[in-house]
């Protein structure tokens, strides 16, 4: 059985309470970090190669290193707990079951690049994770881990929960910053990157919850231990959320690089009703869909990129042979159309257009040339918008069509859906 790191404390009674966390050596890494120079902390995290768990996989230590040491403006940490990518449900569990790990990692990050305030941007619907984080912050403040001169180190830091209010795009770092400032979640043009000009104009790092929860472990046990859990460029374990047609959906912590086949068939018990696998979305709804002959891929950033998909957030959506691919693509397109912030024309106009065409194909009113039209719209969206949300719609839609083209064509030729609605499991 592989080592559990992030989920090791999940099943303990009262795992979210400070006394339980301290009993399990909680805040030991913070004490260790405070005894080091900030730049040594950055170097240590860099050496581990810890890559951002939100989806992009950018090395956290390198991100921290981008922040200028001297800055006239105050620096900030934003903890990305917006968790809205369909198929993803991991940060919610960390916040509910081990909130102090997020807080400890965040304090260490603040110390490393010199921020004295952090905001945990939790999506608005996550009321329970918000309450858990709030009470954990209160405990940490009372115990002297937050506030002025924490643990007698001379370092001041405070952390607050900032709720979102229902907007997928606020998971994108610059939209998150806008929303944290009290504005509509419309992404900013980069450069300047947040590390130079971010929250309230100050240098800012945006890190995912899972990434920060890993930081105390990296400090306690060192970069080599971390790399040893996975592989050189893809160290550590990863939280995988498996949903859809498997026998045992749920959240699993597995080594980086675990083969997708093993996750579906060994960890999750295979396809429900022992039906045939038809398609897998490997890392949240915006990652290109895979066919059954591609599931021997190792689940890590580089291997997925190597077969033309993306590792993303670890949200795996499994679809069996009863699933209509046009319907699946249409549902995702509807989501992106709803969530477009409206700032860039290609995304604002393109995503609803794609959703409309896919829906008419599914409804039996597809026209000749519709597939070319959709692919053309995808090409006109991708790379032509301020933020990656446009790509997040174009990439999976294109992949669904290219991977399952015959099924799309059959819909158009027969003027009906040959498969039908997603069946009810009861």
């Amino acid at each position: 059985m592989a080592e559990k790191v992030l989920t090791a404390r999940f099943e303990k009674l009262g795992s979210h309470r400070l006394e339980s966390y301290e009993r399990d050596h909680g805040y030991k890494a913070l004490k260790q970090a405070l005894s080091m120079k900030p730049e040594e902390v950055v170097e240590l995290v860099k050496a581990s190669g810890l890559r951002g768990r939100g989806g992009a996989g950018f090395p956290a230590g390198v991100k921290w290193g981008f922040v200028p040491k001297e800055s006239e403006q105050p620096k900030y940490l934003c903890v990305n707990a917006d968790e809205g990518e369909p198929g993803t449900f991991k940060d919610r569990y960390i916040m509910v079951l081990d909130p102090h790990a997020v807080i400890e990692g965040s304090i260490i990050a603040c110390y490393a690049f010199g921020a004295h305030a952090a905001y945990i941007y939790v999506r608005g619907e996550f009321k329970k994770p918000q309450r858990r984080m709030e009470s954990a912050l209160l405990e940490a403040r009372r115990a002297g881990y937050l506030g002025k001169n924490i643990l007698g180190s001379g370092f001041d830091v405070d952390i607050w929960v900032h709720p979102g209010a229902g907007s997928y795009i606020c998971g994108e770092e610059t939209a998150l910053i806008e929303s944290n400032e009290g504005k509509r979640g419309m992404p900013r043009l980069k450069p300047p990157f947040p590390a130079i000009v971010g929250l309230f104009g100050g240098p800012t790092v945006v890190n995912n919850v899972e990434t920060l929860a890993y930081v105390p472990h990296v400090i306690n046990r060192g970069p080599e231990w971390f790399i040893g859990l996975g592989s050189e460029k893809n160290g550590g374990t990863k939280l995988f959320g498996v949903s859809g047609h498997v026998k045992k959906p749920g959240l699993y912590e597995l080594p980086m690089g675990t083969p997708l086949r093993e996750i579906i068939y060994a960890v999750c018990g295979g396809i429900r009703g022992d039906k045939k696998l038809k398609a897998v979305i490997p890392g949240g709804s915006s990652t290109p869909v895979l066919k059954p002959d591609q599931i021997d891929v190792n689940m890590d950033f580089d291997s997925l990129a190597g077969i033309g998909s993306m590792f993303g957030s670890g949200g795996i959506i499994v679809m069996d042979e009863t699933t209509c691919m046009v319907r699946a693509a249409a549902r995702l397109a509807k989501f992106y159309a709803h969530e477009s912030c409206g700032q860039c024309t290609p995304c604002r106009e393109g995503t609803p257009w794609i959703a409309k065409i896919l829906s008419r194909i599914e409804g039996g009113h597809g026209r000749e040339g519709d597939l070319e039209l959709i692919l053309d719209i995808c090409d006109n969206i991708q790379g032509n918008t301020v933020c990656p949300a446009g790509d997040a719609c174009a990439m999976p839609v294109r992949a669904f069509i290219l991977q399952f083209r015959t099924e799309f064509e059959e819909h158009i030729e027969k003027k009906k859906c040959p498969i039908g609605r997603f069946p009810a499991p009861w």
């Binding site: 979102g164 400032e181 009290g182 309230f200 709804s285 499991p425």
Partner: protein
């Protein structure tokens, strides 16, 4: 009551909470979204007068607040029923039967998604991914997540709401 006639009468703890929120940020306007949540939690929705109250409190032009309120889906510009059911029909939930559950709810309540029952008791909404895909299908009932739903569980939720309403009417 018409929206124009709505008078904002917030609980003292709501006002206190908003004041406390402002202190968390270097600029008051950053407290806008958390403040709107506090006000909505108190009133149950976001009438124009409530947006104006928040704008004045944070020293912001009212139009800034209207813009933010209309952008984020969680702020309710229409007064909802006493209970809000928000069912996710995004891909993972739909693969597990969410579309059938939505139809079942519509039939039982006699309304379409986005509507409120005639007696003003229940508002049903179809929403996007709630980040609970491993326990799909999922629905938020008055801010609480209900997971691994089946028609039977939906029945239980609806009768529980009925009991609660009866209890408060009797009490």
């Amino acid at each position: 009551m018409s929206e124009a006639a709505f008078k904002v009468n917030l609980k003292p703890e709501t006002v206190k909470a908003v004041d406390e929120l402002i202190g968390r940020y270097p600029v008051a306007e950053a407290a806008l979204i958390p403040a709107l949540h506090k006000v909505q939690d108190d009133l149950g929705w976001m009438p124009a007068a409530a947006m104006d109250w928040v704008a004045d409190k944070l020293g912001l032009p009212r139009v800034r607040v209207y813009g933010v309120t209309s952008y984020y889906t969680m702020f309710r510009r229409k007064k909802p029923g006493r209970h809000c059911l928000e069912i996710c029909t995004n891909l993972s939930c739909s693969l597990m039967g969410a579309e059938h559950l939505r139809d079942y709810l519509c039939e039982k309540l006699g309304i379409k998604a986005g509507e409120t029952t005639g007696d003003g008791r229940i508002t049903l909404e179809e929403v996007e991914c709630l980040g609970s895909c491993g326990t799909a299908p999922v629905m938020i009932v008055d801010d609480e997540y209900h997971e691994n739903l089946t028609p039977k569980k939906v029945d239980a939720i609806l009768s529980d709401l009925e009991l609660r309403d009866k209890g408060s009417a009797d009490g």
